[in-house]
Amino acid sequence: MIVTSHNGHTKSYLKPRFRVDIVDERCIRCGCCVEQCSFDSMYFDTQYQRIGSTDENCVACHRCVVFCPTQAITIHQMSIEYKHNDHWRPDVIEDITRQSETGGVLITGMGSDKPWTCYWDKLCLNASQVTNPSIDPLREPMELRTFLGRKPDRLEIDPRTMEMKTTMGPQVRIETPIMFSAMSYGAVSLNVHEALARAASLAGTLYNTGEGGLHPKLFKYGPHTIVQVASGRFGVHPAYLDVGRIVEIKIGQGAKPGIGGHLPGEKVSATVATTRMIPQGTDALSPAPQHDIYSIEDLSQLIHALKEATNYTKPISVKIAAVHNSAAIASGIARAGADMIAIDGIRGSTGAAPKSIRDNVGIPIEMALASVDARLRAEGIRNQVSLVVAGGFRTSADVVKAIALGADAVYIGTAALISIGCTVCQACYTGRCAWGITTTDDKLTKRQNPEIAAERMANLLHSWSHEIKEMLGAMGINSIESLRGNRLHLRGVGLTRAEADILGVRLAGE
């Protein structure tokens, strides 16, 4: 195999994607942009005493733009026109070019950028008019409190003493139906992990450790932590299981269903190594399957082993990617004893994934959620599990629509990162994130101050929660449980009849 890097000796045929423009009259030569650009695009041109850019290195992360004190920098899409072709699109041509230069699998970061139908954008919400007063959340109570965990069909109460005779499984309370998705320490920096933990604590919700273990410094946020047990078993030990509020078994992830994870050795710093319990500088490879789970009964054993290990004090969640037969799989998971099922759709994000997988494998979360909720109801077991969905949630309205379709709560990942500067430049896999998010580089990680980042994330949750309350109030509902699975508050626009049937919604005007 010929492996040559386009930064190496062979001439690359790739054209730069962006053009960095610096207005020379504005530039005061402070050097800030050079300092901030972690992708080696900006440099100080000593010959001409001005700032120059290596455009082909620019990923459009906008770090320089934001930090330039004189607004001297703009980033443009390179407008290099190809002969128009709907089939051989520029991105296709460029991918092939890149592959022919490296001989490797194309790796990328964040969620799919392909134009998958976003069903959230094709669903309208309802509002009260005349027959039913809308409710103003600023004046009236409006409740978002949600409990995750297995619920019985029926509660038995002794009518004389009012003593409850049914024992409930462990329940975890969140004050807003939005949680932070699994992002491992290693994929993101320790400061970001800490920010997530603090934001979750501030907002009364949970964050998820991902599969990289938990730094001891963050143990104190345990009541707001979902600890993940994934195929690599990185960082899983008794104290880790003990400290979390929920234990999540990760089977799959929306951005890369069916494949494992790969944290390159360069990102495995000394602390990452200790947290993951692996040698420093070694690649952290998560196998594609969990090697002790080759069937549903194996999953059941692991669920029960974890319940046993945590003394039945924590709900056990199973996270899967949304795939073609999610409904049947979810039913199996519920029957295998899970208390919570997390489903991650095709637009789900990642630190690094093969592009071919990210952009082609899995199904949209809307369809998976609708069919899973309907299936669990048809089988009369919807109560047994909480349903959490993930995969590209962008707005409070997306969240409201997901809950109306049947989710108990959603996970957000990308949106949380955007709140601390991420511009979805998709360069996370490089480990050079200029925003100090998806990196373990000592210098770059300092760009995130956990306290400020936590506040920004908590603000985002606060604003979404408030918007959710406004939308609930408009529908004449004052508690989130009356929205959950209440598909009558959704109407489809621009959906085929078959799509509407799968989503279990009527079309607008019906």
Partner: protein, 386 residues
């Protein structure tokens, strides 16, 4: 399912919502009285209905058949009658069958053929008599076209149809009946012309519900009840309230107080202030039964043998007034109707949102201990007028 095709839903609406007048009257000694007072009361609230639905539930009216289920059936075609009777004969021992006596009344047009059957279920399939009856009623209502069982309890009956409630009373000659508990409903539906089955009260076994309001939670209430074998065929939100009551009280064995705490759950801010044991109970009730919370503006009067319960939504968006005189408990949408039929009423009060008013045969009725404060607080937060 024939639901979407029934005449009440020719436009395919999800649910019909209605503003309404409600009235209920219970003699807690069990003494039976005529329908005269309740008819006068509901007539006084004429403006709250629009002639598209009225109905009555009366308890203690069939003392001659105390053990038999009184099945009231409406037929929209002769074929339906033949089909239902074949089915009923196969599934029930029918003690007596007759057309329900009617007289022509103003404003009553195109009435269906209405019959009643006093019957006991034959085969119990290992189910209780009640469960069997529920299942048979569901069968007729979902799979036999043009027929509808609208009352299926013992020693009680529902009479309802399209018309103002006072006309419905005249049509069914209700002056001829004596009961110890009556509830009445005048309907103001917001969508279709209404069909006879869509009028209130809604019934399953001896449970009846009359309702003023619109349930924004209907979609999930219905989907939750489907998991327990209840299928909503009427696209009328009150239906879910009737089934929820049957599920929670009869099948899950909850008390009326617990029922109220589920249908109109206390707010979390209230639960958080409760002493630990009570807090745990209320929290668990919301965790388990959150999908049955009735959300949106409502007042309902629930009745079953020996008991009448009034309940409003937790933020009291629809009116309810209670009154007591001696052994008699009154519930009404408007206080004036109580004063009209009982000028010497001893006490009236406005219940708090979500706080049930319960009248039980054998128990002297009365306002809650906190009635004085209740009254003031209740008035303050009452803002809806259905």
């Amino acid at each position: 399912m024939k639901g979407l095709l029934n005449p009440d839903n020719r436009y395919g609406d999800d649910k019909s919502s209605a503003a309404c007048s409600l009235f209920g009257m219970l003699d807690t000694t069990g003494r039976r009285f005529s329908s005269e007072a309740v008819i006068r009361a509901i007539t006084n609230m004429h403006d709250r209905s629009n002639g598209l639905g009225g109905g009555f539930a009366a308890y203690g009216i069939y003392p001659q058949y105390p053990e038999h289920y009184a099945l009231h059936v409406m037929y929209m075609s002769q074929a339906a009658k033949a089909n239902v009777e074949t089915y009923l004969r196969a599934e029930f021992d029918i003690e007596h069958a007759e057309p329900i006596p009617t007289s022509p009344a103003n404003g009553i047009v195109n009435p269906p053929d209405v019959w009643r059957y006093f019957a006991l279920p034959k085969q119990l399939d290992g189910l209780s008599g009640d469960d069997t009856v529920v299942q048979r009623v569901m069968h007729v209502n979902t799979s036999i076209a043009d027929a509808f069982i609208f009352s299926s309890g013992r020693n009680m009956g529902v009479f309802k149809g399209v018309g103002f409630p006072e006309a419905i009373a005249r049509y069914f000659r209700l002056e001829e009946y004596q009961g110890y508990l009556w509830t009445v409903h005048g309907r103001f539906p917001t969508n279709t012309p209404g069909w006879w089955g869509g009028a209130h009260p809604f019934n399953v076994l001896d449970w009846t519900v009359v309702h003023n309001g619109e349930l924004s939670s209907y979609g999930i209430n219905r989907r939750h009840l489907e998991m327990f074998g209840y299928f909503c065929t009427l696209q009328t939100d009150t239906e879910v309230a009737a089934y929820a009551v049957d599920l929670l009280v009869r099948r899950h064995g909850h008390s009326i107080e617990t029922l109220a705490k589920i249908l109109a759950a206390p707010l979390w801010s209230e639960i958080d202030r409760m002493p630990p044991r009570e807090r745990a109970l209320h929290q668990t009730l919301r965790q388990v039964y959150g999908s049955l919370l009735l959300n949106g503006p409502f007042t309902i009067i629930i009745a079953h043998t020996g008991q009448m319960i009034g309940l409003t939504d937790r933020i009291r968006l629809r009116p309810l007034v209670a009154g007591v005189r001696g052994d008699v408990l009154y519930l009404s949408s408007e206080e004036s109707a109580i004063h009209l039929v009982c000028p010497d009423v001893e006490r009236t009060w406005t219940p708090m949102g979500g706080e049930p008013v319960v009248g039980t045969v054998g128990v002297a009725p009365g306002p809650p201990k906190s009635a004085a404060t209740t009254q003031a607080a209740g008035r303050k937060s009452a803002r809806g007028r259905g």
